[in-house]
Symmetry: C2
Subunit: 470 residues, 2 copies
């Protein structure tokens, strides 16, 4: 590296990449090309066939210092940066255009430390959620946040989206498991915020601000996360109901009990039928709706007795599942609904106050009728988070890549139904690019102004992930 | 109220108070006087005798709209505002000078709603923590954050300081129990942020940013907090040890078990002796150090068995306490150490990684010897939070209001010992005015710059609580 800063002859991505090659040749970089086209999309925005146009430039720094170098060079050339984990997001938060630099965390994948005594792990952002748990399991420990993508998504991506999952009602969302962060800011500085203890109040809580900020405030290059002892026992209960409405109503019976399950998944009638059709299972023979529940911790028999009684009183047929049957049921829940090529689909991710879940399900038939589509949902019932699915059979000759407006209109109607009962447009997937219009319906103008003011305070040049989240 | 805005003839507090009387006569206001002198202090900064000088002006708005009016009028006159709950803070966060306007939340004291079905309560900021729990208890519910001041501190003050307490290791600090906030910003606008569901990710997390911000970003006028079912069982275990060191080491045995108590309080030898001297109890007869533990939830017998075995193996004499004995022990813990008039005292509030707690206690004798003082501590051991006490007998003829430098130097040495093992200068009391210098030792310059940039983004004129927290 030369002593005096290099003055770039031109601005823009080409000049940036020239400088990276000259000043930081050890950083692996892909120039914009067909090879990088996949980086233009995430798991929620990828078209059925990736276009053969050029994607963005992609850098793979291997140390925090390399991230700092990239940020400084990008700032020099006015090239904006898109931080990216595994690209499993569903809202377009990690998508990039051909004039941007993607900073991938794929090489920042070290588990730096596991401390059972402090109940923390220190990881780089590119560590897969599953990889951390594989490391922890033999120690009798686990990392609680469990987005459905946990096998393939990174801790850094989970932090960027404040990822949720199934166990949140009991163990909290990602924010509750992040104690400290190392972050590269827009001026290239590296800061450490937060504490290695559960408590700590020194000024504004920058950790919580970075968690869920979808890469618009900085690039997380290290995280100290909270880990916990594995529960002494786990048990799966199934509660089948005669109707979707009866099952949705019974969520209140769980709340009214003193048992707080680690997981409460609610599957409505169309979901059960869809799983049976795709997997050859016989769930619908057992009922029209299912509350699939995991209990954990001490007193598992007491918990089972109290919850079974409450659910039975609410009209359920309750069964304590064997380990093998439990595994089958959870596998059906996870990978059951297949998105067949002969249907158009639109997904969703709303959250509502728990007491309103039943109301949302009750409104699906009217939305379906209005738009001539099918509407169903799976809910993380413990925290009010629903994942609706709108579907419509593709008629012969129609373009599978061009769903009619009715599909998306119905999805928007579900979101508006959630807003009408005090809910939110995104429970756990984030805003990204996909939900900016919907977020604008939820958030007051003054709130969006405040969010933008905070963004500008930390990234005045708009270097990080412009056009996302806010 | 006149149609055209009144143009104030002068700026400053007098002109502001004139305008309040003219434009918002329904708001109760105390002019600066000896009567308001107590508002110059909080529970941590009050002198032994309050001076008979004038305190600040104090307003008692009864609605969010009245808070908005006050903020707009104060902004018009360039008078800074100090938001204040019950004034029980210990770090000077709510102290005010004679040229400032205190906005008290004392009249904003309504419990707006309790929803067992949504597991939330909606409260105004002036509601006492204890008042909320009194309302919840008959419903079989509770609000978890339990700072030692819970009988006399407000939910708003708890939010401002992100108050901790005894149960945080299991139930989280205040931040984990706050789902949504209504906040008056520096331009007088009223915004609602957050969600009534546990999940929700729409842009930056303003709720977490306001929690713990010590009144420098806005005035909380409403809060939606998470409530929980009361545990089905509670049990108190005492574990006495032959030495402070043995007791501190045994904290690791709890971590290594699979039991997560709701409360783990560690009392060292000087603390036990101080309690016995003040209360006439006989704790020291049972051992030289005490881990006082509360278990709760299902499987209380299983939990008791596993934890008792772990502690016994660590050298403890363990006893399951009767309800009556448990109550006595907790009362001794809460109000035991008396701050006698014949000693100078300095308190503290550090947090360290759990595995380093024993090291901190082991360092006390050296600090005590170096400064010629006594050093002891009680620790919320589950979350690494210690409350050290430095004391020194006041010699005849010395001024009780003027402790020698040794007292505060020793307190600072304890804080530096915590920083040296990766701890923080404030576990749960906040920075206020008292800990700004220490916070500067902990936080990097760039972190403080970032905090100030965020403050300026939301309060560019520095209207709210200048000189505090940051």
């Amino acid at each position: 590296m030369s002593a005096a800063p290099v003055i770039a002859p031109t601005t823009g991505l080409d000049a940036l990449l020239d400088d990276v090659r000259a000043e930081a040749p050890h950083i692996e970089v892909l120039r914009p090309s067909a090879e990088t086209a996949a980086f233009a999309f995430d798991a929620g925005t990828a078209p059925r066939q990736v276009s053969d146009g050029d994607g963005p430039a992609v850098a793979f720094p291997a140390t925090p210092a390399e991230v700092q170098q990239l940020v400084r060079l990008a700032a020099r050339h006015g090239v904006s940066i898109v931080p990216r984990g595994a690209g499993t997001g569903l809202s377009g938060g990690a998508t990039a255009s051909a004039d941007q630099l993607v900073v991938s965390t794929a090489r920042l994948d070290r588990i730096v430390e596991v401390s059972p005594a402090d109940e923390v792990a220190v990881v780089e952002p590119g560590v897969l959620n599953a990889a951390l748990n594989e490391r922890l399991d033999p120690l009798g420990l686990f990392y609680a946040p469990d987005p459905a993508s946990w096998r393939i998504s990174t801790i850094g991506g989970n932090i960027a989206t404040n990822a949720g999952g199934l166990r949140c009602a009991k163990y909290g969302v990602t924010r509750e498991s992040v104690l400290a962060l190392d972050v590269v800011l827009a001026d290239g500085s590296l800061v450490s915020v937060g504490h290695r203890s559960i408590k700590g109040v020194t000024g504004l809580d920058l950790v919580s601000l970075f968690v869920g900020s979808e890469g618009v405030l900085g690039i997380v290059v290290g995280a100290t996360v909270r880990i916990r002892p594995l529960p002494v026992a786990r048990r799966t209960l199934s509660a089948f109901f005669a109707t979707t409405a009866a099952g949705a109503d019974a969520i209140g019976a769980i709340t009214a009990s003193r048992v707080r399950p680690s997981v409460i998944e609610f599957l409505d009638q169309p979901t059960l039928e869809g799983i049976d059709a795709a997997q050859g299972s016989g769930l619908r023979d057992r009922g029209a709706a299912l509350l699939l529940i995991e209990l954990d911790g001490f007193g598992i028999d007491e918990q089972t007795a109290e919850l079974s009684a409450a659910l039975t009183a609410a009209g359920a047929h309750v069964r304590v599942e064997s380990d093998a049957d439990a595994e089958t049921l959870w596998e059906l829940r996870r990978s059951g609904r297949r998105f067949d090529d002969d249907h158009w689909f639109a997904g969703g991710d709303v959250a509502v106050p728990k007491s309103r879940i039943a109301e949302i399900f009750a409104g699906f038939p009217a939305i379906a009728d209005r738009h001539g589509v099918s509407v169903s949902a799976v809910a993380h019932a413990g925290d009010g988070n629903l994942h609706p699915v709108i579907s419509l059979r593709i008629p012969p000759g129609a373009d599978p890549a061009l769903p009619p407006a009715a599909v998306h209109d119905a999805a928007d109607d579900v979101v508006r139904a959630a807003l009408a009962v005090g809910g939110t447009v995104s429970g756990e997937h984030g805003i990204g690019t996909v939900k900016r219009d919907l977020a604008a319906e939820e958030l007051a103008v003054r709130v969006r102004e405040a969010q933008l003011a905070l963004k500008n305070a930390l990234d005045p040049a708009g270097l990080f992930n412009p056009g996302k989240a806010l």
